[in-house]
């Protein structure tokens, strides 16, 4: 006898979980830099356009698929359009690959939380991070030795993920009430501290001064769509899984708006914390702001620690605030990715979630081990690039093609409108059918061309074949095998093709 499906205790908890998933490290270390590089304040125009024409429509699509079909990504895709379950497995595989290295970055944050007490990075945070802490080897082929502090941090991260997920939605619901608002509060503390530092206004000028001429540059628009697409958490299969724990007849469109606007709002706020601090750093060292600004690891583990050391008042406290913010931002995304895997396996084989959670966390920990060696940062960079550029983008593109061209899209829109707080018009159909897939296709083609000449990141080609194309191929192959295996014990087909599948009563608790 099938058990009733787990449910979120309230709409608020679902929204918090979705926001926690969307808002991650990229909101702090990527958005401000992308905005600065692409026209400053003027970048907000393409960013908002991208949010409303790609981010929100795709979120509605994923929420709608999960909520309507009451299944995790692979099973929901298969029900939506028979033969497409492998795309769901691919999305789940990408989540598993991403969380493997994402947990390693969180391990760094755990270690840096500890280092903040004494500002262990001293006067040269750059050398400390790359030479002392990571002791980065010369090339991807030189493994070196295992880094024990990172291994400890990795274990701590996976223990945290296990403890959060072990009681399913009950524990997740209790955790997100704290872990979603907390980083926003910490971010506000950093903004207030940042804007009161010398040189802050100079830094903020670089972040916000609009260069309207950049709006004519197609690269700026692609950057905006790329930022939105990779930030709101679509293409990972998690939003589908999370939405499948909502009853079929509850809001979709408003939840998508709230999730996307919160994601954008937190990114925008993070820019104030980052650029005010970078302005302070530039002021202290008497260098132009563009020389001090960095993104990614460089911002979080080099530029920010440098600024923290030189803060005139309680540097240790602000160091703890910053790295605690990174950890609380990251943990929601990390356990969300694991939940996508657990939900898919549970829905496919009915394995007890409790048992599989332990197995998944141990497996995730083991998958992260290659990134703990001295050459880990190289592999992390390669796998991250491929997972995002070829994984998430292609899954998003395929979802748009299926929803826009292979099912009755208007009926899907009618379903969204029937259950939601407010209705969406034909613009949603236009975005899903034409606009978003065309932009994703252009992004994909452009990345592919850039890949060929020169090679990504100047890494040796063999390392790109293993960490990039190799990992991508393995994930796709496993997805197809899982899909074929599940086809063997098939399921009667859902009447999507004859039009009943997306307009009738939601088949909850199946």
């Amino acid at each position: 006898m099938s058990q009733p499906r787990d449910r979120w205790a309230s709409r608020l908890k679902f929204i918090l979980a979705a926001v926690g998933l969307a808002v991650g490290l990229g909101n702090v270390w990527r958005f401000p830099y992308v905005a600065y590089e692409n026209g400053g304040g003027a970048f907000m125009i393409p960013y908002l356009v991208a949010l409303f024409t790609a981010g929100i429509p795709l979120l509605m699509l994923e929420f709608g698929i999960g909520q309507r079909l009451q299944k995790a990504a692979p099973q929901a895709m298969e029900k939506l359009r028979p033969g497409t379950g492998w795309i769901g497995w691919w999305a789940v595989g990408i989540s598993l690959v991403i969380v493997a290295y994402y947990a390693v970055i969180m391990a760094w944050a755990w270690n840096y939380l500890h280092f903040s007490l004494t500002q262990a990075w001293g006067n040269n945070a750059n050398s400390f991070f790359y030479d002392q802490y990571l002791s980065v080897s010369e090339s991807p082929g030189e493994f070196g030795s295992i880094n024990l502090p990172i291994l400890g941090g990795l274990a701590l991260t996976w223990i945290s993920i296990y403890l959060i997920l072990r009681k399913g939605l009950i524990s997740v619901g209790k955790v997100v009430i704290w872990t979603v608002p907390l980083p926003v509060i910490l971010l506000l503390i950093l903004v207030i501290r940042g804007v009161t530092l010398d040189g802050a206004m100079e830094g903020l000028s670089y972040y916000l001064t609009p260069d309207l001429s950049r709006l004519l540059d197609p690269e700026v628009w692609l950057a905006a769509y790329g930022q939105v697409f990779f930030s709101v958490g679509i293409g990972w299969g998690i939003m589908i899984a999370y939405a499948s724990y909502r009853p079929g007849k509850t809001d979709i469109t408003n939840n998508a708006f709230i999730t996307a606007l919160l994601d954008g709002g937190i990114s925008f706020l993070a820019g104030f914390a980052v650029f005010s601090t970078v302005g302070y750093l530039a002021h202290l060292n008497q260098v132009p702001v563009p020389d001090a600004v960095q993104s990614g690891f460089g911002l979080a583990f080099v530029a920010y620690p440098t600024a923290i050391s030189q803060m005139p008042f309680l540097p240790a406290v602000f160091g703890i605030v910053f790295f605690l913010m990174l950890l609380t931002l990251g943990i929601d995304s990390a356990f969300g990715m694991v939940e996508a895997v657990i939900a898919a396996v549970h829905d496919e084989w009915k394995i007890s979630k409790k048992t599989f959670t332990l197995f998944a966390c141990i497996g995730g920990f083991l998958l992260g081990l290659p990134f703990v060696f001295d050459n880990g940062i190289y592999w992390l960079d390669i796998v991250d690039h491929w997972a995002c550029a070829y994984g998430l983008a292609v899954v998003g593109l395929l979802e748009c093609i299926i929803a826009g061209w292979m099912i009755r899209t208007q009926e899907f829109r009618m379903y969204l409108n029937a259950v939601s707080d407010f209705r969406v018009g034909n613009w949603w159909t236009f975005c899903i059918r034409f606009l978003t897939p065309v932009i994703l296709l252009i992004m994909f083609a452009r990345t592919l061309i850039q890949e060929i000449t020169p090679l990504y990141g100047d890494y040796p080609s063999w390392s790109l074949w293993i960490g990039g194309w190799g990992v991508t191929t393995v994930v796709v192959l496993i997805s197809v095998i899982l899909h074929l295996k599940s086809k063997m014990k098939e399921l009667p087909p859902l009447p999507v093709a004859d039009g009943e599948g997306l307009s009738g009563e939601p088949d909850r608790n199946k």
Binding site: R7, G41, T209, R246, T250, L261, G265
Partner: protein
């Protein structure tokens, strides 16, 4: 900081945070599925 930077910051805030406030208000007004239980 120049005036155009301030104007763009205000406009972006209005769109993002104002839009969010409107959506939350609609959700609170409709408030039709706050009692979905099963914890």
């Amino acid at each position: 900081m120049n005036i155009s930077a301030v104007v763009f910051a205000i406009l972006t805030s209005v769109f993002l945070y104002g839009g969010l406030a409107v959506c939350i208000r609609i959700a609170l007004m409709k408030n039709r599925d706050t009692v979905e239980t099963s914890e």
